[in-house]
């Protein structure tokens, strides 16, 4: 009972602090909403990356074909730029308004159909993920375009060898027709690549609809449960500084009970914070946490245990309020960024991804995403939960070792 009394006292102290509501609830919701809004609005309407398309010769037969093939891409959409201004297209790429720009020079089609090797200019910033995506999509579309040109040439050669063209105009008309037929055929090629998402839910026909929040909602939960420690770990520091901890030892309460009471309070705060953010994610952002209630509960409990242990460690290490905020901030930045709460680890380099997966937060993200994105069940979160539990034990042991009552 003493442990519960102590935990309730801590909870009351935390809840009475106005900052708690801000750090535990308002900020994570605000950040989740903001990132969802930003990514969501950038994907509004046609979600494909915009690629500028500058044609210097509109009568060029290849211009239309290249635009058709770019339009068929599932990664980019061509934006026809008026005024044929390559410089302003390049500036738009530099400023991030376009993911790339394709400049079709004068006479490109003529030269290509004549068997020469004219070159298209593609302006793209390959240092950015969007630029890399645009670059490979443009290359794929332009390879198909060259294939259509080669097809037209082969077809014209075959006809010339058998019948011969009456005039250059007839030859040109034949080439244009071949080009149009080949371009049209590329819109529905005979061999295709189809993509299927894995996951138990997908197999059962249950719809898992990844949205912009399936990364940001669990990511912000993981980030802000750590940051929320700046309020709950603060209680320990305030008790130490006001010598309340020492006074407690003059009562029949044991040291173990004091530590247990504080850890229980931190656990409850983190768990309730997660419950709030999970409910908000489910209702407001459409992230389906509740498709596997037991699994999500297990992840939440083990994450709360680890974060509470981390809170105890921060409380044990900090001598002042400033130090609590500083350690909570550092822990938040390191654990959330390295653990994949800000961006999926698979888009990072392999060394970073390997280091990132040593973080308990990476396992928490795995647990959440196994449910909301992969559509898996309870068995899929056993390993992440087990690892989080192991981290909780390790951090708790470290915190108890460092803990001082005076």
């Amino acid at each position: 009972m003493r442990v519960i009394d102590l935990a309730l006292k801590d909870l009351l102290q935390i809840v009475r602090d106005r900052r708690s509501a801000f750090f535990l609830g308002v900020m994570p919701i605000l950040f989740t909403f903001f990132f969802g809004l930003v990514f969501g609005s950038s994907a509004e309407g046609d979600p494909r990356l915009p690629v500028g398309f500058v044609i210097h010769d509109e009568s060029d037969a290849l211009s239309a074909s290249s635009q058709t093939l770019l339009e068929a891409s599932d990664a980019i959409r061509p934006v026809l730029l008026e005024g044929n201004d390559a410089d302003s297209a390049a500036e738009s790429v530099r400023d991030g308004d376009l993911a790339g720009a394709v400049i079709v020079p004068v006479g490109f089609g003529e030269q290509a159909l004549a068997g020469e090797k004219p070159r298209l200019t593609v302006i793209v910033d390959q240092n950015t993920p969007a630029g890399q995506t645009a670059s490979s999509a443009v290359q794929a579309a332009m390879t198909r375009l060259l294939g259509a040109v080669e097809t037209a040439r082969l077809s014209a050669e075959a006809f010339e060898a058998r019948e011969g063209f009456e005039s250059e105009a007839a030859r040109r008309a034949y080439l244009d027709e071949a080009l149009a037929l080949a371009s049209e055929a590329w819109l529905q090629p005979p061999l295709t690549v189809a993509v299927e998402q894995s996951g138990a839910a997908a197999e059962e026909g249950e719809e898992i609809s990844p949205n912009v929040y399936t990364q940001s909602s669990p990511g912000m939960i993981v980030q802000f449960v750590v940051f929320g420690l700046n309020t709950s770990a603060m209680v320990l520091v305030l008790e130490r500084r006001s010598r309340t901890l020492q006074r407690l030892l003059t009562t029949p309460i044991t040291r173990t009970q004091v530590i247990a009471g504080h850890v229980l309070a931190m656990f409850l705060v983190v768990f309730l914070q997660q419950a709030l953010l999970v409910a908000f994610g489910q209702l407001a952002f459409g992230v389906d946490y509740m498709r596997e209630p037991l699994a999500i509960l297990l992840v939440m409990v083990t994450l709360a245990l680890w974060v509470a242990s981390l809170g105890l460690l921060i409380g044990a290490m900090s001598k002042s309020e400033d130090q609590v905020i500083m350690w909570a901030l550092m822990a938040m930045f390191v654990f959330s960024a390295l653990g994949g709460a800000w961006f999926p680890l698979d888009v990072t380099g392999k060394t970073f991804a390997a280091i990132g997966h040593l973080m308990p937060t990476a396992w928490a993200m795995d647990g959440f995403q196994n449910i909301v994105l992969r559509g898996l069940g309870l068995s899929s979160v056993l390993l992440p939960a087990g690892i989080l539990l192991a981290y909780a034990v390790a951090f708790f042991a470290l915190a108890v070792w460092r803990f001082k009552f005076e």
């Binding site: 298209l120 082969l154 005979p190």
Partner: protein, 422 residues
């Protein structure tokens, strides 16, 4: 001299505080460092070190007796080519169920399932076939790479079919006899062309595309540096505004502990006290911005741009941050209010100003306009221009706006404080 004494006392307090130092210097560099490591810094030469994608491939292709080869087997060989070993780790699965199970259990990122009729469909005049990529939905980059590679292979054969079809259609429409040898010849010629193109692309050069970076007067020294510049600029701006507000918070702190009241009993005019506070913030912020810029130039190899333009944008940032800090604090009564209000206002204004989305490409154009509702957005615009090689003339407008905003915020804040302590 009293102005300097007050400023020195405040600065000493700031630079003796571990918390202030961490917030001023460590956190912005730490965040940028983590992002730098994630997207380029650990790959050597600042290049991006792509993760290896584990691929399970199952070849169900059963070419008929009329074929002496299997396109499915060719695709498996193509994926297992040693030139792709840095990108893909390919394992052949016994059957489709095993391949899918490997992805389900996260032992593989993608399963490539080649259908039983792949060769037959690829070579029959009306045949159609589809290769299935079964992928882990949490992955983005790896499956995209696999799709690109498989599509490149598939397009070679699809193109052959399309070429044969177009030749047959056009000749047929004109009543020209079509024989098998002609079709074979077309297929072989197209195949040879596609193979040469694939070889050329495999060597890193596209035979018909000149891929150029967007124009910039200052070339980044590395791939990572080019990407990190705006991200670091966002961090510098955010934490500079944090320092501006923290410095102004000392007025409230001193009011709470009574040292401000004591100061008022001395023959020191209110304007001098406020001037000292402003000077402390100004000098601290200059030190912070200079240190962060120099450190990021050394650590992340960021080129900030032409020195005079950089100095002007930095000046605008410092004045805006000091003025904004004083403005926020002038409406607060206690340091207990300061934490959440500072957090809320600085976070919201940073969000609206675009400081947390500098690394996100292709945001809606309207967002660029919204950014300019805040001083943060104007400073960010100045940094972006200067990093793109802009000169004094280019950055003049954002600098003037940030200076103007900073002065107005400071004047309002000073007025409120003056009335409060009158």
């Amino acid at each position: 001299m009293k102005v300097l004494d007050i400023a020195l006392k405040d600065m000493l307090r700031s630079f003796r505080s571990g918390f202030a130092l961490v917030m001023m210097f460590v956190v912005p560099l730490l965040i940028t460092g983590i992002i730098y490591s994630a997207f380029g810094g650990l790959g050597g030469d600042g290049g991006f070190d792509l993760p290896v994608t584990r691929v399970q491939v199952v070849n169900l292709d059963q070419p008929g007796p009329q074929f002496s080869f299997s396109l499915g087997q060719m695709l498996v060989g193509f994926l297992q080519d040693e030139r792709l070993a840095e990108l893909l780790q390919v394992t052949e699965a016994a059957d489709e169920a095993n391949a899918r199970a490997a992805v389900d259990s996260q032992d593989a990122g993608v399963a490539v399932i080649i259908p039983p009729d792949f060769t037959t469909a690829a070579l029959a005049p009306e045949g159609r076939a589809s290769i299935t990529l079964y992928q882990d939905p949490t992955l983005t980059l790896g499956p995209g790479i696999v799709k690109g590679i498989v599509s490149q292979f598939v397009d070679g054969f699809a193109g052959t079919r399309i070429a044969s079809g177009v030749v047959a259609d056009q000749l047929g429409q004109r009543g020209v006899a079509i024989d098998a040898s002609l079709m074979q010849e077309v297929a072989m010629q197209y195949g040879a062309w596609a193979e040469a193109l694939g070889r050329s692309r495999g060597e890193g050069a596209h035979p018909a595309l000149d891929i150029q970076p967007p124009p910039s007067k200052t070339e980044p020294v590395s791939q990572g540096a080019g990407m990190m510049g705006p991200i670091m600029a966002g961090m510098v701006i955010f934490f500079a505004f944090f320092t501006g507000a923290s410095t102004a918070e000392t007025i409230i702190r001193e009011d709470e502990v009574g040292t401000l009241a004591r100061l008022f009993t001395t023959p020191t005019p209110r304007a001098v006290i406020l001037g000292g506070k402003f000077a402390a913030g100004f000098i601290t912020l200059i030190a912070q911005v200079v240190v962060l810029m120099l450190a990021s130039a050394v650590i992340f190899r960021i080129r900030w741009g032409e020195p005079l333009s950089v100095a002007l944008v930095a000046l605008g940032l410092v004045v805006a941050a000091v003025g904004f800090g004083l403005f926020i604090m002038s409406f607060l009564k206690s340091t207990r209010q300061a934490g959440p209000v500072m957090g809320t206002v600085l976070t919201l204004s940073g969000m609206v100003g675009g400081l947390f989305t500098t690394g996100i490409p292709n945001l809606p154009a309207a967002y660029d306009t919204i950014n300019l509702l805040t001083p943060h957005g104007w400073v960010l615009r100045g940094w972006k221009l200067v990093m793109a090689g802009g000169g004094v003339g280019d950055v003049l407008l954002p600098v003037l706006v940030t200076l103007g905003m900073g002065i107005i915020f400071f004047a309002v804040g000073a007025l409120v404080f003056r009335r409060r302590f009158a």
